[in-house]
Symmetry: C2
Subunit: 170 residues, 2 copies
Amino acid sequence: NAGHGMAWSYYFGYLKLILPNFDARVKNWIDENAPKSMYSPKLHILVPRSCYCYPSLNDADSRITIAGTPEPISASRAGTIKRLYKNTIYKIEGKTEEDTYYFVAEYATPVLSLYEMAESDEAGLSADEKLNQMKQFYTTLSHILSVNPEFVQTCVLVPYDDKLDEDEVR
Amino acid sequence: NAGHGMAWSYYFGYLKLILPNFDARVKNWIDENAPKSMYSPKLHILVPRSCYCYPSLNDADSRITIAGTPEPISASRAGTIKRLYKNTIYKIEGKTEEDTYYFVAEYATPVLSLYEMAESDEAGLSADEKLNQMKQFYTTLSHILSVNPEFVQTCVLVPYDDKLDEDEVR
Ligand SMILES: Nc1nc(=O)c2ncn([C@@H]3O[C@@H]4COP(=O)(O)O[C@H]5[C@@H](O)[C@H](n6cnc7c(N)ncnc76)O[C@@H]5COP(=O)(O)O[C@@H]3[C@@H]4O)c2[nH]1
């Protein structure tokens, strides 16, 4: 089914490529740009219940601002030569450098596809089925990460109820 | 099902972002780099029956060589700021510039995920089911493109029987 396939495609086409040594790349960026601040070395993958994913985390919460980009990964895949995979470092600013907290986060992009499918008349995905597929995606992805122990220290799934109704989004 | 979901996600998360004005970006590259040569302004999306996608088209056929990259698309999506979407221009060289043919092509990335799922014991996709999902993907994607007339001039699906057995691939 869709959610199951999206989780495996997300693993093979993305996580498997970027998670090796992810924590080291984050640490390098912190050492060069914010050596006195607090940070998390993991990729935080947000899974909102509504499946709605803002373009930037700053749109979801104005206390979260864009800080920078760790070294990207370049890989030739399926005919696209040197495709670029990059992430965004965000921060929550405190009064001092020591109080400021840096972290890498993004929404699970396949979940945004589920949202767009449910919004489109053509794709034929009901609101109930959207939620069902999102849960399938989450369950499958949790399983994949749990059997890949090296990813436990570089990645964390963050499901949450964002309480957004389709009618409230924009 | 997986193939149906992958086709819609490929449309919402990729084709919808890169196909607008795709032909203009290819023409710009040709005008600057190979003004005397023949070329196709469309994105050629390869859908091999085995679902196996080489990293580069040159690996599949040594007469096809890498020529360059048209201007990439940058878009902030699902928390990744200014994510880069780029394509590869390939060429088949003739004796002269006039005889050389340039084209943009790549494999349909979701199909590679189906291949990797079938190769992995964990993902639980049989060889028969892989072929079935690939056909679902192709049928759904053909439908999506046919109801978006502006994409007819910027994109062409290229299904073919590559006669590759799992045992023969490396
Ligand atoms: N050829 C090609 N070039 C691209 O730049 C590209 N970007 C996406 N896609 C394909 O479109 C579809 C929708 O993409 P989405 O972003 O929702 O899911 C993506 C996304 O959640 C994640 N991912 C892949 N590359 C990146 C990336 N650079 N940054 C963040 N996430 C990424 O992993 C999923 C699977 O990726 P692919 O298996 O490469 O195929 C995708 C997918 O089939 C692409 N295909």
